[in-house]
Symmetry: D2
Subunit: 387 residues, 4 copies
């Protein structure tokens, strides 16, 4: 189902990522390849205008056919053809190899959406079904301290450089000058966010952007997505069911409007994406090798703090930067050029990654982006201020 336009049905993700391989790899490259079904190109194209007419996005939830079973057969069919094709490496040009790798990263992006969309669908069902049981929590609870990392003024390098996979929006490696600032060494916790709520934060327009205030009124918001008060205690839906909010976990499912208002209430601000990237490179030079990145699967038990881990994996952190092209940004030609560039207006950049994010998407230059009112991703808050 598709309860809101941004949330796609799970089986749609399965079909759409398969379609990517069929459409960009199998069909143009495998001799004699027969498409699995003549209509699937129409049904499972997401937004690639170059590729022709599409089934419109708000209608994704209205397809009872093909069934999940048929989509699984579609996946097996395409996988099999592509795998057989790849057995002979001589058939794979440099350019084609890049498209294949892009297809893998595209699928990983949809794996993350699959998790967040499932959470939305189940978390808006009044039965609050559990998706999977929680793991036991390891280690003692810790109250987060307020420790800011200092950054000197100066020229910093921004954007991807070197080998390895990256999206087009990370390219255009360039220099920025940053005025001196400092940045929190951890994410804001549920405990801190509850103080904002208790202080009447949702009822005081002085903290809010004008469009944020309109959003709070229109949507009647008084807490993050998935939060409900039961007998005076804040609970939240997690993928392990409905349970009390953990005070020392990072607050997640926060819109940009809420993140900005919280920061204003704290007399701080959000970092820019450049400030975030410069600090992450300096203070987290190594990205942790990861099985542990998300200790309690799919919901966080506590905020992580300290030198090694603080910038990656605890949540997608809203920055005070709009999603815009880097100075040297170039669109790829053809349909794949639509991948990122055409979304560069009205959205804000998020950095870091969450427990739903595939590991290979955790890197200092990765630019995630969403509209400011959205919060169904594991979005989070980190504070900064000028020095």
């Amino acid at each position: 189902m598709q309860p809101v336009v941004d949330v796609s049905p799970p089986k749609w993700h399965l079909a759409h990522t398969t379609w990517f391989f069929e459409n960009f790899i199998a069909a143009p490259n495998i001799e004699g390849y027969q498409r699995f079904h003549p209509q699937y190109n129409f049904l499972f194209n997401s937004y690639y205008q170059h590729v022709g007419e599409r089934w419109q996005r708000p209608q994704r939830g209205n397809l009872s056919r093909p069934t999940t079973q048929e989509i699984m057969e579609y996946r097996a069919y395409v996988d099999q053809h592509v795998a057989r094709f790849l057995e002979d490496e001589s058939r794979v040009s440099q350019d084609l190899a890049q498209v294949i790798v892009l297809g893998l990263h595209h699928e990983q992006q949809h794996q993350e959406l699959l998790v967040t969309d499932l959470k939305y669908i189940l978390g808006h069902n009044p039965l609050f079904p559990e998706y999977r049981p929680a793991k036991p929590q390891s280690g003692p609870a810790a109250v987060a301290s307020e420790n800011y990392l200092r950054m000197e003024e100066g020229l910093y390098e921004i954007g991807f450089q070197g080998e390895g996979f990256h999206f087009d929006n990370e390219k255009g490696h360039h220099r920025v000058f940053l005025e001196p600032y400092q940045i929190l060494d951890r994410l804001v916790t549920n405990r801190e966010y509850m103080e904002f709520i208790e202080d009447g934060g949702y009822g005081q327009f002085a903290h809010w952007l004008s469009e944020g205030w309109d959003w709070v009124q229109r949507e009647e918001r008084d807490a993050p997505l998935y939060w409900h008060q039961v007998d005076g205690v804040w609970h939240q839906y997690t993928l392990s069911g409905f349970r009390p909010v953990e005070p020392d976990a990072p607050v997640t499912h926060i819109s940009y409007y809420e993140a900005d208002a919280f920061a204003a209430w704290k007399d701080k601000r959000l970092p820019t994406e450049q400030e975030w990237e410069a600090a992450a490179r300096k203070y987290s030079p190594e990205i942790p090798a990861s099985a542990n990145l998300c200790p309690a699967e799919y919901y966080h038990t506590r905020v992580r703090q300290g030198q090694d881990y603080q910038f990656f994996g605890d949540g997608w952190e809203w920055t005070q930067s709009a999603y815009l092209p880097y100075p040297g940004f170039q669109k790829a030609p053809g349909a794949l050029g639509e991948y990122n560039g055409k979304f560069m207006v009205n959205q804000m950049v998020l950095r870091g990654g969450s427990c739903a994010t595939p590991e290979s998407h955790i890197r200092p230059t990765y630019r995630n982006f969403f509209h400011p009112h959205l919060s169904w991703q594991f979005t989070a808050i980190r504070l900064a201020e000028n020095l």
Copy 2:
């Protein structure tokens, strides 16, 4: 799924009709009855405000839980309890018996909706899945003649009288005086309707009600629901798949706006519900005993004409009567009083019944009703005129 607000997910019908028995029969009458699930009263109440808060209608399609399997278990559970309870007839008062019969008729109404909703869901899927294979057509095709049945002026009796099940809106048996008129002895055919289309009927406001004309413009209509032109030939989605329109079948899936415009184009009008009822009583005194009522399962092969069969079962015929209370109409007390009366505004009455209608709902006094823009039922046209 719920592609438009009027069309409910199939599993919702299954759960809602079960809820009727649990809520109005099992829970108040069976000692020690335990509800199957504490939330189902909230989820599967349709519009009975007396019964408490409801899951809102436009959200019916967003419930991935309970699953169809769980709903089947719910049905078995309630069926079993009610069946066991009914074994001892002494427990069933006159009043309770009436509620049970109402529950059966309520379920039959939803059986009809189940068929029309399935048709809508499958017929708006670009794959046009077949619901069940068509039966071979029996008998020769016949071109319909234009034969009108004459009715004299006089007093006629309207509404249900006597024993047997009927809805509250059929009661208030009363007399009406009808000026002389005549009424077609069959439904309008696809052939006739195609003439209207070819004559530019959808493009000439002179035929249309003002709100009908707005509807045509806004919805960009140029043919009945489910019709698509392929290489110059009109096709339609049927429960047996996508196939050419049968010229001699009754045109169905017509909104009131279309029915009224067609009649204006023909220089005729629709009958009132009183005119329909009086003519049906006179010309079809026996309702046919029915296995044959719908010879080609779920889609019509030809219009039926002649003395015995002409008023029942070929389609829900729009009348020129708004759905309003009969002179002696009385609402039942309590929740069941909400059954019909509260819908008596802004809807038009339909008479007759379609191939999706349970046989025991085919009677001269049955008043069906829908908003004038709706056409996902098997709605149809019969013409009349003054003498």
Copy 3:
């Protein structure tokens, strides 16, 4: 201005009624007639599709040009040409005479709308400007008694017959059979309506039609249009300013939904238009000769009761009849055929007339009609019940 789509700017009424005379009388009949302005046909056509493209209704309030001054010049220009043309009666055919009379009645209808639209515009301005001072009230206040007029079962004649002006929708004189009923000899008062409010009438769905209940929720209604509670006392905006509600005046500015709910709360119902017409003919054979019809100009001081005056002039009374064609209804050919017939769906009939209604529109057969949610006319309630 045009604060809601149904309310037109005052100057638009002035221009549109002039356009009627220019377009249907002067232009086709006066030799050498030059239209005042080439664009006015486009701007001031209301809904006559036959006459060509129109400036869309919701945009009427966005025309700062022509100014009111220019529209007054337009009126003078057309008046002068038509008056000079009429000096020679030989030029006026029977048919043309009918169009001229229609134009006069059309202008009278807009005179009534002009008053109700002005009231809406001023009554939704937080300054509550007074339109004209109230006249001193004459006579003593009277508490209305509850007196019902009895009507026997039988055949009654409905619709216009004879000479004199009438609209096409009144024609098709015909007979109806009415079951016995009785009908209140006056309108419902503000005092009675306040009892409904105090009894929680706006909060109990059992009284309401389903769409009425939705309307109450969506619009957050808890009293008639123009009513506001100030320090626990109900006030209402009148054309003489903001003042306490008069308990013995008829309640006005009532939607059909409210009228129907009030009647249900009283265990009564609204009369049908046929019941109203039959009773009005019987009990008010003479229509009062009128200067006194509206004693306190533009707002009512008390409900009138008694034999002679009870059916005409105190308010447009909602009936339980949908606006549909009479048996012998015929549309006029051409543009004027659009006058009434094309609105015959989704509206309810009102009978009687209000203090804003021109006297020559007060007659037993006049059929006014509005959508059930509208209440900016002086709409009112009369109760009836079966015998």
Copy 4:
């Protein structure tokens, strides 16, 4: 009138700017000051939430009272009181002086809106009324050459520094590092924009941002605001009436979406606001002393090009920068702190100024901002590219 929510009625601007002086200067500072009318604070507050409840913005067009005459009396009343108060300078503290200067600049901003709103109101009237006659054009027409100004990489200073009036959003003077780029020495002309149209620019999604493409489809755009094709020739509404488009004038009334698509079609991009400011400071060190800035009153006759004038006064130039706080941005306390900061999301920065802009608002650091779909200001395009 208020044909769209962004366009306020002219008299509203007059009242609102007066309200600023009454509310922030007269009422709190003049002893014994009586407000002109107790309701005007409610009616003419625009968005200052600190100041209490407001008449909602979309309803501004629905106030027929107070009349323009009454608002002029309000202005005279407030002017007189403030002028008399200012006669004794000892009463004016440093802080109060700043508020008074802010009030003047606030009024100038509304003077510009008054012009653009009048243009919108008159330009959407099918009569296309002329606001004032055009002045005769001076000088010969010139075809614009394509000359780019080069900028070296390096550190540049951004934001207001020194004495003189400026808004809070210009403060937070800071350094940025710019990669090398070049920027056009003039605005894009109508001639060039017509080439984009003729090349099918509005029909090729490849040029457009995704939300821009949606906007083009939804709004059915195929040319700039105010453009209409008559007999194959592009015309546009100007404040001097409806006339053929001047090929050598700068194209104006362009949304960000259109500006961005045009730049993509040209294989260029829009400059960032920092690139614009650095280039303007370098190449237009003097701002022209101005009577000539707008030679043909309120509509442009040709694009100006060359060393002295190229950055100021020909149009508000969309930049590729979102409207966000500068590093050291601080909100003022209290109601005036709402002036700029709360709009810092979802809008794009424009630089330069137009022929409707008061001269004292033409400066290198002035940050104008609008949502990307808006084009009723005199918005324009300047191209840039990387070196």
